[in-house]
Structures are given as structure tokens and as C-alpha cells.
Symmetry: C2
Subunit: 302 residues, 2 copies
């Protein structure tokens, strides 16, 4: 099942995914003067941990497709889906323990601490997200707390683990975590914009997919935070629990008239500015490499 999930059962049709997190990790390790060998197991570990969360999220969200293939739970049943995700989680940690061969034990313990904490933060974010499903609205502060867990925690851990594997001091690695968190926020907002306005041939999902699923994305949450208006009412009605399937073009038009797309783009840019500030304050010189890579990744998606 795990081979199936990664597409290894059909190597010619295998899809690698973007692998943003391990790339972030390796680039940070290199930026801190580490060798790739010192960070490779950690990079694999973070990608596997990400995939454990995807396998469980797909069950929790009822998603039947990922990367154009039937999800594990849909193909093999929910029990196997939960269990395969659990196994991926264990394999992720076991992979990180391989670092023992090239990194001192106290450093491995620090790295495990980072990975376990990130996992717990992810669960907290996912718990909030599940709770949001039955609500009529979600405040911006709650949305930000949710994505800080669901997305930010693993981006932060990617940079922090890379720094630790690369030999950075604890404090410097913590600065990289803050950098990763800012990147994660930027990435998630960009992802939300693509989930609303991205073309099908690019995202692999129907345009407005997030709206059809009534996902609490940045544009929606932002629009609900604006004052009373007919456009806001359109969104309130579309996201009302128990309402019929939303009229996607109508909601997108309302979002645009309210200025939600510009607001999302501005929030994305502010998150990158925050990353700038963090990097400058801690003198994280190789930041641009990582940022350029992220922008490149976003272009490939967009």
C-alpha cells in the first residue's frame, strides 16, 4: 500500500510530488555548511512524515483522489488507510534515527524533538480544521492558527532540521524555524489562491475546487472579515452548513469584487517580507537560495 501511495507500483507513471520540504531541508543544511550526506536521512524523514499526514488527511477529508490516483483508503478501505499512515509515521522516525551514523546522539535527540513537536502541531492544526467543517464562519486568527499547524509546523521543521543537520547552533536553528514558518504561511496562502483561481490543467483539480468543497481558504476567511455587503452575503450563503452545493463562479465573482485576491497576494508578499526580516536579523545568508527555490516551486505549480 505504501508502494502504491508513492506510485512505485508503476514506476513509469510515478509522480514525485513537489518535494518542497526535503528540498528546503537540504538547502538549509548546505547553507549552514553541512554536507548533503548529513541531512539526507532527515530529508527523507520529513517527506515521509508529510505523506503520513496526507494519507490520514485524505481519510479525514473524504478525498478520493490524490495526484490523479485513487487514495489508499478509497482503494484498500479505511482500516488499511489508517494503518498504512501509522506505519509511514513510524518509518519516518526510524529514517531520522539513521542520522545517528553521521550526527552525534545529542543532536539526533534534538532533531527527533523537532520532528515530534512538528507532528503534534500538525495534529493540532488538523484538529482545528476538522472542527471548522461544521461552523458557519471562521475568524482570520483561527484560520492562521490552523495553517500554522497544518502547514507551518512542517515547513518550520524542515528548515530547523536542515540547520541542525548542517551543524548550526540551537539558537540559529530556531531562527531558521521562524523563517520556515513564514515560508509556510506564504506557501499556504499561494496554495489557497491556486485552489480558488488556478486553472485545471495546472492544479489537476477543477477550478474553484476549494469552494466546491467549502474549504476555509484565506480568500474566503478574509472576505467574511469585511463589513456587510451583498457580495459577502453570497459567500455566507455558499458556506452555510447544510446549504446546497455552492455556485462556484458566483462565489469567485463576489471574492474578486470584494478584493480578496489582492488581499491574498498582499498577505503572501507580507509573509515573504517577514521572512526577509527574520533572515536579516539572524544573518541567515543563504535565505535567497531557499526563497528563490520556493518561488520557483510556486511557478511550477502556477
Amino acid at each position: 500500500m505504501i508502494r502504491y501511495h508513492f506510485g512505485y507500483d508503476q514506476p513509469d507513471r510515478a509522480r514525485a510530488g513537489k518535494r518542497l520540504r526535503p528540498q528546503l531541508l537540504l538547502r538549509t543544511a548546505l547553507a549552514e555548511g553541512g554536507a548533503v550526506d548529513c541531512a539526507l536521512d532527515a530529508a527523507v524523514a520529513i517527506e515521509i512524515l508529510h505523506n503520513y499526514s496526507l494519507v490520514h488527511d485524505d481519510i479525514e477529508d473524504g478525498d478520493e483522489l490524490r495526484h490523479g490516483r485513487t487514495t489508499i483508503w478509497k482503494k484498500f478501505g479505511v482500516p488499511h488507510g489508517i494503518n498504512a499512515g501509522d506505519a509511514l509515521c513510524a518509518i519516518s522516525y526510524l529514517t531520522l534515527l539513521h542520522e545517528e551514523a553521521v550526527v552525534p546522539p545529542n543532536r539526533v535527540v534534538e532533531m527527533l524533538h523537532v520532528l515530534h513537536e512538528a507532528n503534534l502541531r500538525m495534529c493540532e492544526g488538523q484538529g482545528l480544521d476538522i472542527g471548522f467543517e461544521t461552523r458557519p464562519d471562521v475568524a482570520m486568527s483561527q484560520y492562521l492558527e490552523m495553517i500554522a499547524g497544518k502547514t507551518g509546523a512542517l515547513f518550520a521543521a524542515s528548515c530547523q532540521l536542515g540547520a541542525l543537520a548542517g551543524g548550526a547552533a540551537l539558537e540559529r536553528a530556531a531562527a531558521y524555524a521562524a523563517l520556515g514558518r513564514a515560508y509556510g504561511l506564504a506557501f499556504q496562502i499561494r496554495d489557497d489562491v491556486l485552489g480558488t483561481w488556478g486553472a485545471t490543467d495546472v492544479t489537476g483539480k477543477p477550478s474553484g475546487a476549494d469552494i466546491l468543497r467549502r474549504k476555509w481558504s484565506f480568500p474566503i476567511v478574509w472576505a467574511l472579515g469585511t463589513g456587510p455587503s451583498r457580495d459577502r452575503d453570497v459567500i455566507v450563503r455558499a458556506y452555510a452548513p447544510g446549504a446546497t452545493a455552492p455556485d462556484v463562479p458566483l462565489v469567485i465573482a463576489a471574492l474578486e469584487r470584494l478584493g480578496a485576491r489582492n488581499a491574498a497576494d498582499a498577505a503572501h508578499d507580507r509573509a515573504l517580507d517577514d521572512a526577509d526580516t527574520i533572515a536579516r536579523a539572524s544573518n541567515l545568508d543563504e535565505r535567497r537560495t531557499i526563497r528563490d527555490f520556493l518561488a520557483e516551486g510556486a511557478r511550477r505549480v502556477a
Copy 2:
């Protein structure tokens, strides 16, 4: 949700469970000359890991009650159930990392390795068990492989972690793992006997609960391994996929005539004899303390 699972929302009605695994761990640590303080975090970690597996197993098996209370997934929904289990898993590892305060980092890394491997073995056992559900029969070797993962792995880890926390050398700790595995086998066979013949007021489940659920228990698997007979046919029909609910008294009578109860008791005693042999070979002196404790635990259940 986690507070609810442990019964901490109603302290006067809280049920501690048997806590066999942490007790095994602490007793092994003491037997190896360690102080309780050196093993307490590991003991908490193993109990939490056990509970993560219970929360997910309840979803996978569709169980709606545990210790007389509605299970997490039944009360809060499957998505929250999966996620709460994931959080428990992360919390278990984070708890073990607390050992860092009293145990050297390289030893903590060894202990984490044991806990992660045990988790992976549990998933393998659970994967087998899920696969068994749709089968017309299960061979004894497959049953043994399944419970070695589902039950044996965590019993083995309990003893091994206790030995490591208590200061035992790696090889000696591995001998304790073998001891724990033998105890796990004995415990599971006893548990299967109780699931078939245990009285309701003792087990909290209806008599023959395992048969009603068509669980592949030791007595059933053993009985299917006997030669052709009318009693064996009764069991084959009761466990046929898609058959109507089994006639429990009929199946129990067939098991008894075939000698399945005696066979289970004998296998239980052989597992304890194996434990004896292991303990003697490696000179694990405090074994009796652990064994007596296990017998006492079994009596409390029986």
C-alpha cells in the same frame, strides 16, 4: 478528546486500565538496578503508545465501546478519532524524549529506536489482522505472526526499554525483549481464552464476544487446524465470510469437544516455559517478579 479517552473528564469514573506495559517496564528497570525516576517517562510513553493503537484499532474494527464508554470515533467522528490517535503517538515519543534529563543521549536514541520499531511491528500485525477479516481461514503461523506484531512487539519493547532505562547493556536488553515477547504471546492467548469463555461480569463483554465478532482467536485458529470433523465444520460455517451472525453457544461447544480450550491453556503454559528458558539462559534474575505480576494481572482479568 484525549482527556475523554483516558476518562479524565470524569475523575470519579476514570478507569485506569490494567497498565500492564508500563508496569512491566518499571519492574524490569528496577530488576536491572535502575531507579524508578530513570524509567518513569518511558513507562508513560509506552502506555500512551498503547492507547494510540487502541484509539486507531477501535476505528479499524468498528468498536463502539471501550471500558464501558463510547469510543472517541463514535463520539466525535472518525476524522477526530484518527487525528486524536496521531496526537497520542506524537505525545508518546515526546514523553520518551524527557528521558534525556536522566539518561545519556545515546541511550535515549537507542530507546527511541526500540519504541519506533515496536510501533512499526504493531502496524504490521494490525495490517495482517485487517487482511484476515475477509478470509475463510487463517493458518496458525499467520495468527502467530499477527499477534507477535499486535501484542508481542509492545510487550517486548516494555521489557527492553525498562532494561535500557535501568542501565542494562544492549545485549542484555535484547534478551529482555525476547522475554517480553514470550510474555506477550502468553498474555494474548489468555486474552483470547477470556474472549471466548470469560464471564460477562469479568470481561465487561458478552460471553463469546470474540466469536460474535468473528475474531481470529487462538482457539478458533487451532480448531481449524484439526482434521475434518463435524465440529470443525460448525466453526468453518460460523466464520465463512458473509455468513449470518454465528450461533455462539454452538461454536463454543464445538471448540470444547475439539479440545481447543485445553490446547490454548497448553500453548499459554508453553509460552511461559519459553520465558523461563530465556530468563535462565541470560540470567535475568528478577524474571519471577515480572511473571508473578503478569499472573496476578491475568487473575484480576479472569
